[in-house]
Symmetry: C2
Subunit: 189 residues, 2 copies
């Protein structure tokens, strides 16, 4: 019997984040998350496979958004321009939620298992971007390089956005980091 529980996923996510910050990820149980969200553990498991997935459920949405942006970029755009367009969508996606994202990063940074999971998610995201570029007719090596370069920009910009005081818009930082990467890689002497 599945009852209608408006906003249960959202409340569970909020409760989990609070508890992970307060007590640490490892010390928090699903029962406690459910209790704080005012739902049953069963409801938790209808929304998330385990307590780790609460932190990563958004990654899938982000990956889908980036993938669509790659597919929809103007015909004839250079591979790195396609990736830049995807990053822009990613920035719009993450931009409104700096405080929650900061909490998420703090939780992940404190736990090696979560760090590994984050690395794997990013590697998969790179593979999906490369796949999207190949589907546009980009040669495999070029697709891999542009996609991986995009992931590098994402990581470095993300880190700046989360750690700087008053960093401004994530999308502006991404564009700046992308330009910086172009400069760094061009100077090979």
């Amino acid at each position: 019997m599945v009852r209608w529980e408006p906003g249960a996923a959202e409340r569970l996510r909020e409760a989990a984040m609070q508890l992970y910050v307060e007590r640490g990820f490892e010390q928090t149980t699903v029962a406690e998350i459910a209790q704080r969200a005012g739902v049953t553990a069963r409801t938790f498991f209808r929304h998330f496979a385990d307590k780790r997935e609460v932190l990563f459920a958004g990654s899938e949405d982000l990956a889908g958004a980036l993938q669509r942006a790659v597919a929809e970029a103007p015909a004839g755009a250079a591979p790195m321009a396609v990736v830049a367009a995807a990053l822009d969508v990613g920035g719009r996606f993450l931009g409104p939620d700096r405080e929650r994202t900061r909490h998420r990063q703090l939780i992940i940074a404190a736990n090696p298992e979560l760090q590994e999971r984050e690395l794997i998610k990013l590697a998969r995201l790179g593979e999906r971007l490369a796949e999207g570029l190949r589907a546009r007719g980009v040669a495999p090596q070029e697709a891999a390089l542009a996609a991986e370069a995009g992931i590098v920009v994402l990581r470095v910009a993300f880190e700046r956005w989360l750690t700087e005081t008053d960093p401004g818009d994530l999308r502006a930082i991404m564009r700046e980091v992308l330009t910086a990467l172009g400069k760094v890689t061009a100077e090979q002497k």
Copy 2:
């Protein structure tokens, strides 16, 4: 009582690789590896923490070699040139051993847990390269970008070297991929 066993580590590594290819990583036990190498399980554990470490023991040597190359690059070299010098050392390090490296990659590709470990090792390697660049006075963001770009080149070149028929010298491929990355990231329109 530690007896002198000439070349035990090398024989254990050979035996492990053979068994991982023949039976799969998961189906192989330490006892079997030791038996094929003609040593005891105790000897195995004097050389490797577990059967996974047999595959990753070389990564530490590689990381050390790259780190030294970063420290010893000519003063005034651009960050990406420093990374290129390190990659060149890496290529010399891995170059003589394509067959073993291919086997290693096949074993890793067949096992998600090993793939994750490989990703983590590469991420750590990137952090160490960035650290080495910062120690040379490179600004943190530039150091991160050059180091991560180096890891991208390493991965893409490595993949080509291992999968192409008659790929030639790994170092030449790395240089080519580095040039290609420079081109891809420069075209942002």
